[in-house]
Amino acid sequence: MPDTPQTIAVVGTSVFAAFLAGLLAGHHSKDVVLIASVASPHRLPRSISLSVAPVLRPETWQVAIAQWPETRKLLARIGPEIVSRTDPVIAASGLEAETALSHLRHLAAGFGFATEPVAPAPGDGTNAIRMRDVEWIDHIWLSTYLPAWLETTGVRSILPQVAQLSIKRDGSGRIEDRSVDCVILADDDAMIAHIAPEILAEVAQTTSALAVLSEPSPRQSMAHVMRLDSATSIYQQADGSLLCHALDPDGFGETRIANAFAASANTRQAARVRYERLLSHDGAPLIGSMRQFRVWTMSALGGLDLTLAPMLARFVAGVASAEEMEWCVARRPTRSFDRSSVAELALKAHERAA
């Protein structure tokens, strides 16, 4: 694969994959093919995206804060009402999680975000803080506008069942009779579909997750709750419905959601999907090519995926700044996961015993 690829296949159905593809084509003049299943705004979002997320590495805070104004402008050009303000309540219980929450609070304050303890916290035996003035990126709205924007950038979208993608060991690929310099697996589904399980297991654990959309419920003072100890997220949308995500390796995903947010208990479900998610071994993103199978990955970015997308597009295009390059290179999948110097809070999923 050349250092600066000209033809790129971005694989992934997430809004992040589409956004990245559009940026590579529209801003970096790459010839981009997006290989994605049917894009539908009705598809339940598999993740959430924020301007800043509960991460525990100062350098990640720095790149996110530096990148956000540009990302915000780009999103505003794609469509209105994609970004809105939120004051997430970040909760944790258990020694490890509560310690991490305390670290997070001081990091956020150090970067100028107002934080305050929340009492009573959502859930028993829980500590929580509220972080002010975070911005929420609405995946449903974004996916409504993305197809039209992708057209303007010149990205060609192909359904995976229509064109067979083959990936070579050097990370280049072939779509039908056409070669591409670089294949980027830009979400968890794409990585799970295209990387052999034994190779994937070197960098991440595959686990089940649950996304639920509820019927509208009364407005809550805590309209957005995230739990550090279980990666559970509940966000109350403008119409009162709750968009919920939880890990579900043990079948307790629904209970995690209901327990995390008192108002969600007994709220009727309107949509629900169980899907596979990757947890990198050190909780940090996976950016760059794999060790044996040199396909590019952009995964495990958590809530910062869309925020960091313009920087990641520059990284792929070879025009990232030295600081950006350093941040990305430190998170390449070939790093050592044992005592990783970029590790975040690393969750481990344990399947329920049969």
Binding site: S37, V38, S40, P41, H42, R43, L44, R57, P58, E59, P80, E81, L95, E96, T99, A100, S102, H103, H106, L107, G110, F111, W141, T144, S214, E215, P216, L228, D229, S230, D239, S241, C244, P249, D250, F252, T255, R256, I257, A258, N259, S264, A265, N266, T267, R268, Q269, A270, A271, V273, D282, R339, S340, S341, A343, E344, L345, A346, K348, A349
Partner: protein, 665 residues
């Protein structure tokens, strides 16, 4: 209530054997109103017979009371017991009982209440439907009172379900047959006989007689399966003990589950399509056949199918007035049209309904505006009528299939969502599997059992009348959305209350406003197969998206279940150094104890700086990790050249606290 819409005498064979006993009048109360009925009535049928035709209000517009909109009911005193709520359509009307409906009521000011009475809206259950119609959540989360099992569980007592039950019993299998209606047979009789075939009514009577004679078939009529999960059908029925009805949850497991749920009726999309007085032909036929109820004396019949003409004939045979029949098809052919002409119906072909609204005129409650099917322009004067029966065509009843995890696809040729693939131990038979004729459904029921029990595959003949003589059903028609004071145009009769969005007529608003996101994204409700049909017909979704939407949104709307106690942790216990601090201050970072003059205790995460005015985490030289056993703060520090006794500053909130490096670990 004094209104009564019973067919006391009828010449229509379909309606001659209702389950109600007209010699046993009863009286009961519903939400404080006295209702008259007959033994055998359900609370829903008796309410409708007494003129209660409105479930409640949705966006300031009344919504018709039917099986989709009927709320759960409970005996008075049990209002707060969700476990004692019963489906209104399955709950028997008991003489002297006092029932209350469950659901959010419309909030009205005293003046509003007076206006309500003056407007004569006592015919409404007065529910607030703005947050959606009732879903079976009240009983879906209660534990099953009875666990039953059989070799074969058959859901649906139409021709296919009856044939499957008999075939299974013939092969010595134990069978449980579950049907939501009070009598077996489904709605096949509505479609009438076809030359050269046994009339459906006779076929049903014959199969039903054989079923009742068979000891290995247990029949559960009036029992509704609301979910199939893990190979078990979960159902609700009502049982009456000591003169009081109560709900009973059943869990029915079987080696195989045969879903013979038949079809559901589609709803053409136009403003006012769920106004009180508007009714589907299937529901109208069921009310008449089971309970001897005809909705209104003077009705207009709008049909996209041949069966609609037959219903008009049945209504006339029962002494009711059919003012007119409209049909979006041009020159439709059906074996019933000659009769329709002979009966003197006014027939309007090539006419869709543009909208329906209430009219203030006495004796004619609805005004139906038609438009030309091809040119899409309004034609003729509004038709004034007391009621409107719509035969909108049929959709395989796949809600249970979807809820069980079955997959579907869009058949654009038939305009139906159809099942694909397999789904655990669930198999489809009859019209839900796509068979149309009575012999086809019967053979399908037999063939499914032979395949399950014997491994035999059979060819099923599904004879169809040549379209030259029986025009195929029209595609679902879609009129422009509501404007002004029109009632909403619902996409389906289902509980999700999806509507066509009202167009924005203000030019300035159109210019500055963003495009409205699709109605499904902005309306969070679980969907049914009928919602999918309406959404597809209106272009709200496209066929490519169907699989995703069906998988994610066609679910049973359960409540999220909280649980006391600790959840299994997903965060492993870390060694003394949390993962996110590894290498945080370089490879030579070290742990130091700190001393403060005040003995101050710091939270983990407080940042340590070399200068008192620093605050950026990027210039931090350390971070507080924890307190040691003597409550001295321990800090993880960068290799800075600082040594024991040197001053550093710990930022704790807004203040910077001086501290001194103590022992290095």
């Amino acid at each position: 209530m004094t209104l009564n819409r019973r067919l006391i005498q009828t010449g229509a064979a379909d309606f001659s054997r209702p389950v109600v006993d007209l010699h046993q009048p009863i009286r009961f109360h519903l939400d404080g109103r006295e209702i008259s009925g007959y033994a055998g009535d359900s609370v829903l049928s008796a309410a409708i017979a007494n003129g209660i035709d409105t479930a409640g209000m949705f966006r300031n517009s009344p919504v018709a009371l039917d099986t989709h909109s009927a709320p759960p009911v409970a005996l008075k005193g049990n209002e707060r017991r969700p476990d004692l709520a019963m489906p209104m359509a399955l709950c028997p009307a008991i003489d002297g009982a006092r029932y209350v409906t469950r659901g959010r009521r419309m909030r009205r000011s005293p003046l509003g209440q007076i206006t309500q009475v003056l407007r004569g809206r006592q015919n409404s259950l007065d529910l607030d439907l703005n947050s959606g119609l009732s879903a079976p959540v009240l009983w879906m989360q209660t534990p099953a009172a009875q666990a039953l099992s059989a070799d074969i569980v058959v859901i649906g007592g139409g021709i296919a379900g009856l044939a499957a039950s008999l075939e299974a019993a013939k092969h010595k299998a134990s069978v449980i047959l579950v049907d939501r209606n009070p009598t077996l047979g489904g709605i096949a009789a509505l479609f009438g006989k076809v030359e050269g075939q046994m009339p459906p009514a006779e076929l049903i009577a014959d199969l039903t007689r054989q079923i009742s004679d068979h000891p290995s078939i247990a029949v559960f009529s009036g029992t509704e399966v609301f979910e199939i999960a893990d190979g078990t059908a979960h159902a609700i029925r009502t049982v009456t003990e000591n003169g009081a009805p109560r709900p009973e949850r059943l869990a029915i497991s079987g080696k195989h589950i045969v879903m013979a749920t038949g079809t559901e009726e589609r709803l053409p999309v136009f403003p006012g399509n769920r106004l009180p007085g508007v009714m589907g032909s299937g529901f109208a036929w069921s009310l008449a056949a089971h309970y001897g109820i005809w909705p209104r004396e003077n009705v207009h019949l709008h049909t996209l199918t041949g069966a609609g003409y037959r219903l008009a004939l049945l209504g006339t045979d029962s002494g009711q007035t059919i003012k007119r029949i409209s049909d979006p098809r041009y020159e439709p052919q059906t074996r019933f049209i000659d009769y329709a002409k002979a009966y003197g119906f006014r027939l309007s072909w090539g006419r869709e309904i543009d909208n329906v609204s209430f009219t203030g005129r006495m004796g004619a409650r609805l005004a139906i505006v038609h438009r030309d099917s091809e040119r899409h322009v309004v034609v003729g004067d509004p038709v004034l009528t007391d009621g409107l029966i719509i035969s909108g065509g049929w959709q395989p009843a796949l809600s249970l299939w979807l809820g069980a995890g079955g997959t579907v696809t869009w058949n654009s040729r038939t305009g139906q969502v159809v099942a694909t693939g397999s789904c655990g131990n669930v198999v489809l038979a009859g019209s839900v599997a796509g068979f149309l004729s009575a012999p086809g459904c019967q053979q399908s029921g037999v063939a499914v059992i032979d395949w399950l029990l014997l491994g035999n595959e059979a060819t099923i003949e599904d004879p169809q009348i040549d379209p030259m003589f029986e025009t195929t059903d029209s595609a679902l028609t879609v009129a422009p959305p509501m404007t002004g004071n029109m009632a909403p145009a619902f996409l389906s009769p289902g509980p999700a209350t999806l509507c066509l969005p009202e167009p924005q007529t203000n030019r300035l608003y159109k210019f500055i406003a963003s495009p409205t996101p699709n109605v499904i994204s902005s309306l969070p409700r679980a969907l049914s197969d009928l919602d999918l049909i309406g959404a597809l017909a209106t272009g709200t979704i496209n066929g490519d998206e169907l699989e995703i939407i069906a998988r994610e949104r066609c679910i049973l709307p359960r409540g999220l279940r909280a649980q006391q106690g600790k959840m299994p942790g997903l965060l492993p216990a870390s060694d003394p150094m949390p993962t996110y601090l590894i290498g945080r201050f370089g490879s030579n970072q070290t742990l130091w104890s700190l001393s403060t003059g005040s003995g101050r205790i710091f939270d983990p995460g407080c940042l340590v700086f070399a200068n008192s005015d620093d605050r950026s985490p990027l210039s931090a030289v350390g971070v507080i990790v924890r307190q040691d056993t003597t409550e001295r703060p321990l800090a993880l520090m960068a290799h800075t050249g600082l040594g024991e006794g040197d001053t550093i500053f710990v930022r704790d909130g807004l203040v910077s606290v001086p501290a001194w490096l103590g022992e290095r670990f």
